[in-house]
């Protein structure tokens, strides 16, 4: 892999690995890939100093397509893996990426607890309200009356999960919603998310054109939030509960300090640990 030269600005395309994505033509995730490379370039984070961590799903393929360090782990555990990496290596820029199934269903417990723990990382969820990779089942964010899921032919009949509300209640420090169609706008939000200390959640509505073709319409439905980001959780909760999931932008910016245990040794020799066992 060629390292970008130290003086010239690193261009967005230099963050691409060159591996050809497996995604269907028109998939929203292409746009997200572009936004991530623009954000990394915007912040001039050197590829060797960033790590993109994911689970399993179409969206979770992201790390392979980037020239940074990456980890494509198992389904649902990206946030746990990313937390371990960030705690061990606070110097790195750590970004977790994945889908709504990966993050909110099988990985739901880690989602809540990572919001709570608040490590300094960014979590980008490509929400398409469906399981793309396994060919079109309902996900936690699918609306109850969507009848095309083969395992739930009459619709799920259950209320969708509200990731941003849960994130807020669990203690996430930065909450935003974006559209994959707005490449530059999304890149700007990701830059802010990376810059902001603590755990930043960026939900990107990213159409699955194969199993939810109607989501192509999202680009006309999503609108920038008419208000600025709040740092008042009560106000944020009210807005998130009433905006029908269609307002984009940075919606909440908190000020909790990030979780980062110190890694400074207090003794110079491991052999000193022996002392407590000596008679």
């Amino acid at each position: 892999m060629t390292a970008p030269s130290a003086c010239a600005l690193i261009q967005p395309k230099e963050y691409k690995s060159g591996v050809k994505p497996v995604w269907c033509p028109g998939c929203g995730d292409f746009g997200v890939l572009g936004s991530i490379t623009k954000a990394l370039s915007g912040l001039q984070i050197r590829p060797e100093n960033a790590a993109i961590i994911s689970g399993i799903g179409c969206s979770s393929r992201m790390p392979t397509y980037l020239s940074t360090y990456g980890f494509h782990g198992v389904h649902g555990r990206a946030l746990a893996l990313a937390t371990g990496l960030k705690v061990a290596r606070p110097d790195l820029t750590v970004i977790a990426t994945g889908g709504d199934g990966d993050g909110f269903s099988i990985g739901g417990n880690h989602f809540m607890h990572t919001c709570r723990r608040n490590p300094d990382m960014t979590y980008i969820v490509m929400d398409n309200q469906v399981y793309g990779m396994t060919k079109g089942q309902a996900s936690p964010t699918t609306e109850p009356n969507w009848e095309k899921g083969k395992l739930t032919p009459g619709g799920t009949g259950i209320n969708p999960f509200q990731p941003l509300v849960i994130a807020l209640a669990s203690g996430a420090n930065f909450i935003a919603r974006c559209s994959s169609a707005d490449s530059n706008g999304t890149a700007r939000v990701i830059m802010e998310a990376i810059r902001h200390p603590g755990f930043s959640l960026v939900q990107i509505l990213s159409p699955c054109v194969t199993f939810r073709p109607e989501q192509r319409e999202w680009k006309n439905m999503l609108i920038p939030a008419p208000v600025v980001a709040t740092s008042d959780p009560a106000q944020a909760a009210r807005r998130l509960l009433t905006d029908e999931g269609l307002f984009t932008g940075i919606l909440y910016v908190g000020n909790r300090p990030a979780y980062q245990p110190t890694l400074e040794a207090s003794i110079d020799d491991v052999a000193k640990l022996d002392e407590e066992f000596q008679l």
Binding site: T2, E48, V74, A88, H113, Q278, L279
Partner: protein, 574 residues
Amino acid sequence: MSRRNLSIALTGSGGSGVMTTGNMLLEAAAEAGWYGFMGRSAGPQIRGGEAAALIRVSSQPIESPDDNFDLVLAIDPGSMGRFVAEIPLRTDSLIISDSEGGRRSSSLPDTPAQLLDLPMKKLAKTVKGGRPNMIALGAIAKVIGLAEASIYSILENMLKSKGPDALKASWACVQAGFAAAQDLPTLKGPPITTGSSRERWSFTGNEAAGLGAVRGGIRFVAAYPITPATEVLEWLAGSLPKVGGVLVQAEDELASINQIIGASFGGKPALTATSGPGLALMTESIGLAVCSEVPVVVLDVMRCGPSTGIATKSEQSDLSIALNGLHGDAPHLVLAPTSVTDCVLTTQWAVHLAETLQTAAIVLSDQSLGQTRAIVNRPADIAFMAKRLVPEQFDEVYNRYAVGVTGVSPMSVPGQAGGQYTADGLEHTVAGAPSSLPGDHLAQLEKRERKITAFEYGQHWAELEGRGSTAVITWGSTTGPVREALMRLRETGEHVRLIAMRLLAPERPEEMAAALDGVEQLLVVEQSHSKQFYRYLRAAYDLPADTRVFNRPGPLPFRPYEIIEQLAEWSAQS
């Protein structure tokens, strides 16, 4: 007449303080220059259930429970009933109890042993703030020949935080117990040698495993609490920060294992500790570590299974899941310590091997090692350190998963320019790109297998002792009783070999063939109901035609005489 060994059980119910008393007794034994250990047995109650401290002291280093107990001190008589199976007695064993000590209707179980009465409760009442367990401590000290004064320094040390009144009351009780035991028979312990030495240590197997981990280079631990592994974590939580490491209490075991994979990917040697239920949850991700070639160590302190089983008691029944529980073809390391002291070496070696071979190592300790506190000789310093092969410079193209000769390929660390790659649980090319091609799959499977099978593990794969055409093969905590049984036989001129396996995976066919050379009769000893170890040996190795198995489930430990009996029965038949 003094004895080389003494086994003493203390039982009590509901906050009677048997564990504290037992720890004090063990400390006093250490002061007297003795070796020994204290195991613990407890019921399911969180607080206040019956508990037993099972102690053995000796003039020599010891690892095995004896055949039976010489002395039982039942602080309240009803508490002993729960432990009859765990406290075998002879007709000349002594039971000291308090006929007025218990609640209504609590009485001693039927027993062949001699019963002696000591009014511990009444005596404790004569001291302000006095407690029967301290009366018991004084009485035991008298019976086994420890000086009264030697207990004082222990009390002083252990009650430091409780203030002068507590010390005064306890000391008065110890003196009262000592005086009241004047008329009891004595069971004199080993000769007393004074002057404690830094060459002898006191620790539990769980602390020993923690120490081995840190010595080996572990600097990141993530874990979720579970009996009987929690003390490993407690020790690490206090000790890791001193050496610049960190322990994270994770939300569950799925998080623990993935956090340590993340930390290790970032270059920090990482470990988690758990027990059977947690290991079961982790298996998918242990496979991820194997496939993505990220070193991790998983310490499983086994307890009785399946399911929640008996959470507080020991069994060797996670062997099969540790060996075979990963989906797909996922070669990894499985190791097991053979004694409390060996928890240091085996854990440290596991860290070294996992890091050297870039794979997952599962270490199988168990409750009887982990929660036993032992007085031992200082564990030897060994040179096993985490030493990962990290590239120093990069070619135009960095192939993280290059196949190479040894199968171990240089692993870059995030931050190294030019070393970027994506670690992947998907099958991949040498460069790390996802691949579903049969050729890539085969090449990577062979790489991951070869790096661990072709490695030279040296002498530590097993402990081999003795000679003769009969051998006993065992592993883990059952090594203690087997070793003692064979030592006793040796004293009578009978020679039986010991093979105690430390490295259970990968298989070592050549080393095993050499160890079994000339063996005609092989006895397999293991603590599992379904003969997991025996089945594994049958599948992996060429065993003598005359191979038998002596197995039983936990929690009852093997006792040396049982192994001697098995061998005697066998030779009588043939």
